[in-house]
Amino acid sequence: MEYRREELLPGVWLTALCTDKFKTGTLTLSLLSQLDGQTASMHALIPHVLRRGTVSLPDMESLDARLDGLYGSRVEASVRRVGEVQVTGFAASFPEDRLLPEKMGLLGRISSLLGELLLRPNTRGGLLLPDYVNGERDKLVERIRAQKNDKDSYAVQRLIQLMCECEPISVGTLGSEESAEGIHYTKLTRRWRELTATAPIELFYCGSEEFAAVSDALAEALTGLPRGEIDTDIGTDVRMNSLEESAREFTDYMDVTQGKLAMGWRLGDSMLEPDVPALMVFNAVFGGSVTSKLFMNVRERLQLCYYASSGLDWQKGLLIVSSGVAFDKLGAARDEILAQLGAIKEGKVTEDELVAARRAVRHRLSTMADDPFSLENHYLSVNIAGSDASPGELAAACEDVTLEDVVEIARNTECDAIYYLRAGEDAENDGQA
């Protein structure tokens, strides 16, 4: 796979991977902005509204008919978060021309469709259509409400919200229900224009076309893109230490049959110069793999929980453990999770555990190269951090991660908050210790 990255227009970067490996080409367009409570739900809404119709394809019926005719090409709205950067835009995939019964020139057609979606949506009097805005706003509100339905991810979301209370990350990828409900089409139109003019834009392509063909197609598609003063100041505010001496504890009550436990740590001095492969191996030793300490001990040996796993937000400097636990075992599970991290701090990691952790991380990184959207996500996140390390390079670096590196990372962690989700209707005490 040949990697190339260039600035196409002011603040517009194209990352391209040239390969014959896949049967479909992948193209994404992402606008980057600072995650912020004032704008998060508007930014989350914008691609969904734009996806409803353009000047030449004014509604979903005509837009999707066009895509069906292009051999089932797909263009979807996409909203993500990388650290405290909100990433909003479109993700497209389309069959490779060489595998179709007729030559379609799909790269050019899909590029220009992306340009049209971003720059020439269906408007009236220069304003986004109230119908589209209201319809998609209601769906966004439903999506935000539905976050409560998946209790595992909800517990983690609440933990981050409470633990990082005054930090942008607490806003969440979609913003709050209240801010989404208050969106009005005139205000959203203004936000769309500002975002388009000021946001750094990341373009990603993976497929068999050469870089020059891709960059030409996209440059043409983005003709007329307003470029004002590019907001280059966006990034993630890393807080190194816990807020208080000992971890803060929070409890929510809901109608659940199984308790949830979520725990959060700051990565501390490991964030001075984050060593990503070492962090990944540490996480696999602790709770990020089926050979990890949490899986083998908390779940399998002591049977304290239904599941327990750890994950990292290395941009933000967070270590998060998520676990499903019977109500009467919440305390015991918490203590054992802390004890397992304590064991790593004391260097109690066997050679087998370390080898298995390296292998799990290598497996995860090498399968990324088998999926265009995983590659896209990987490069977006390393590019935002100013690097262009390939998954293969990170995998190779895992071999050099030592026991000392892992122990050092564990010692730098500081537990900042513990969150419990219990059964009951104690709404008065929502989020209180």
């Binding site: 509604d59 979903m60 019926e61 005719g69 292009l70 051999y71 769906k139």
Partner: protein, 427 residues
């Protein structure tokens, strides 16, 4: 030696052979891919409770196929899931109405992992104690899934559609039926269904096809056994057993499924052709660009979770469409109105052409999903067709074929509606 089949138009090659013991081996080479995927399946699922073997009729409790799937991972030397995981593979298994499949994905040690897979699936090892314990575990699983609204909705539709065909019943059985399962029943069902002549091994990845076939030849039994014949009871009428079913559960908004039975050709390329026509008919009627979907989406009566599909298995076939909607009854009315329109006026050529292209491109894309690809290849091998012929078949179909299919199979009296409604406050 394996036979090599080339599909240059779609850039695919397939190696296939039937070993002397009757096992079908299929290998889809995927150069440059880091991961390899192996899928080992038997033509045995939850709907095959009654079967005949060499003239003998045999009846078993509901849930044996799924129970077997759970217990197969036990080996005298330990648990196969743990062995595969320790060796860097991600293993799993599932049971459907007509198939039980064991599979893993790995980026290293593929052949070692393949050996483990072949060994544990062909080695029955059950004790009364472990069967007892599993009855508790699966009993819990059954209770949990019964609370799941999507599960309840699916089986509500199956029961509305079918009068007596065993696809009506949960693959896992009931707490009562699995209580009847003993090590003896497991041993005898394993002996009948887990014979190479009733199984398919399918691999996708950057692997040597001959090495895959030779591993299977080396590890599996060499004799060729008789294949059991499932007995699904008397043929069902094409009209549903009941037209409407409604349940009340803890959901935030109503969930619905509309379905109908369609004729099943039983097997061969005709089955692939009918599956494709049914898929195209649905795409024309209710696909992403259809007036049906876009209209109801704009009115707020359908959401992006709306989906549709068809299932040709276990000697029967049906289609379904559904999702969340504030008014499932209205959705059914609109669907019937669309069917009536097409039945009277036929299908516009452009609408059909778009659907055919979309289907072609989306099927092409699915070839990159190893799990889906191997399942499709194995389903084809078990039903006597080659899945990759679907691209060529697609060119032979016309708008009239599709319109006729809609006229014959989607009429109002053929449809059933199942819905899960939100439970009112306090019951």
């Amino acid at each position: 030696m394996m036979d090599r089949l080339d599909y240059p138009a779609i850039g695919e090659t397939l190696y296939e052979t039937v070993l002397p013991n009757g096992l079908t081996v299929l290998v889809s080479p995927k150069p440059e891919y880091a991961k390899s995927y192996a899928f080992f399946a038997t033509r045995y699922g939850g709907a095959m409770r009654r079967f005949s073997l060499e003239g003998r009729k045999i009846d078993t409790p509901a849930g044996v196929a799924h129970f077997l799937e759970h217990k197969m991972f036990d080996m005298p030397e330990g648990n196969a899931l743990a062995l595969l995981s320790q060796n860097g593979a991600s293993p799993n298994a599932y049971t459907a109405g007509g198939i039980t499949a064991y599979h893993f994905e790995s980026t290293q040690g593929f052949y070692e992992n393949l050996d483990i897979l072949l060994r544990f699936v062909s080695t029955p090892y059950f004790t009364a104690e472990s069967v007892d314990k599993e009855q508790g575990i699966i009993g819990q699983e059954i209770r949990m899934t019964e609370d799941n609204p999507y599960f309840a909705l699916y089986y509500a539709l199956m029961r509305a559609l079918y009068d007596h065909h065993p696809v009506r019943d949960s693959v896992a059985g009931t707490v009562e039926s699995i209580a009847e399962i003993s090590p003896e029943i497991l041993y005898s069902c394993h002996k009948v269904f887990y014979v190479p002549s009733n199984m398919v091994l399918c691999v996708a990845g950057d692997v040597d096809p001959e090495a895959v076939a030779s591993a299977a030849g080396r590890i599996l039994p060499s004799e060729r056994s008789a294949v059991p014949e499932p007995d699904y009871g008397a043929p069902e009428a094409l009209t549903p057993a009941s037209a409407r079913v409604k349940l009340a559960m803890d959901v935030s908004a109503p969930q619905f499924l509309i379905g109908g039975k369609v004729p099943s050709p039983g097997g061969g390329t005709e089955m692939l052709r009918q599956t494709l026509i049914c898929e195209l008919a649905l795409r024309c009627l209710v696909g992403r660009s259809s007036p049906f979907y876009t209209g109801l989406y704009a009115e707020g009566l359908l959401r992006a979770d709306f989906g549709y599909g068809e299932d040709f298995s276990c000697g029967t076939a049906f289609f379904e469409l559904g999702g969340e909607s504030a008014d499932p009854g209205r959705v059914l009315e609109r669907f019937s109105a669309e069917v009536r329109r097409v039945s009277e006026n036929g299908l516009e050529r452009e609408v059909f052409e778009r659907a055919r292209r979309a289907d072609y491109g989306l099927t092409l894309r699915s070839l990159g999903n190893f799990q889906g690809l191997c399942r499709s290849l194995a389903d084809g091998a078990m039903s006597g067709y080659r899945f990759l012929d679907v691209f060529e078949l697609s060119r032979s179909l016309s708008a009239d074929d599709c319109a006729e299919y809609i006229r014959e199979n989607f009429a109002p009296e053929r449809l059933a509606l199942a819905a899960v409604m939100p439970r009112g406050p306090k019951g």
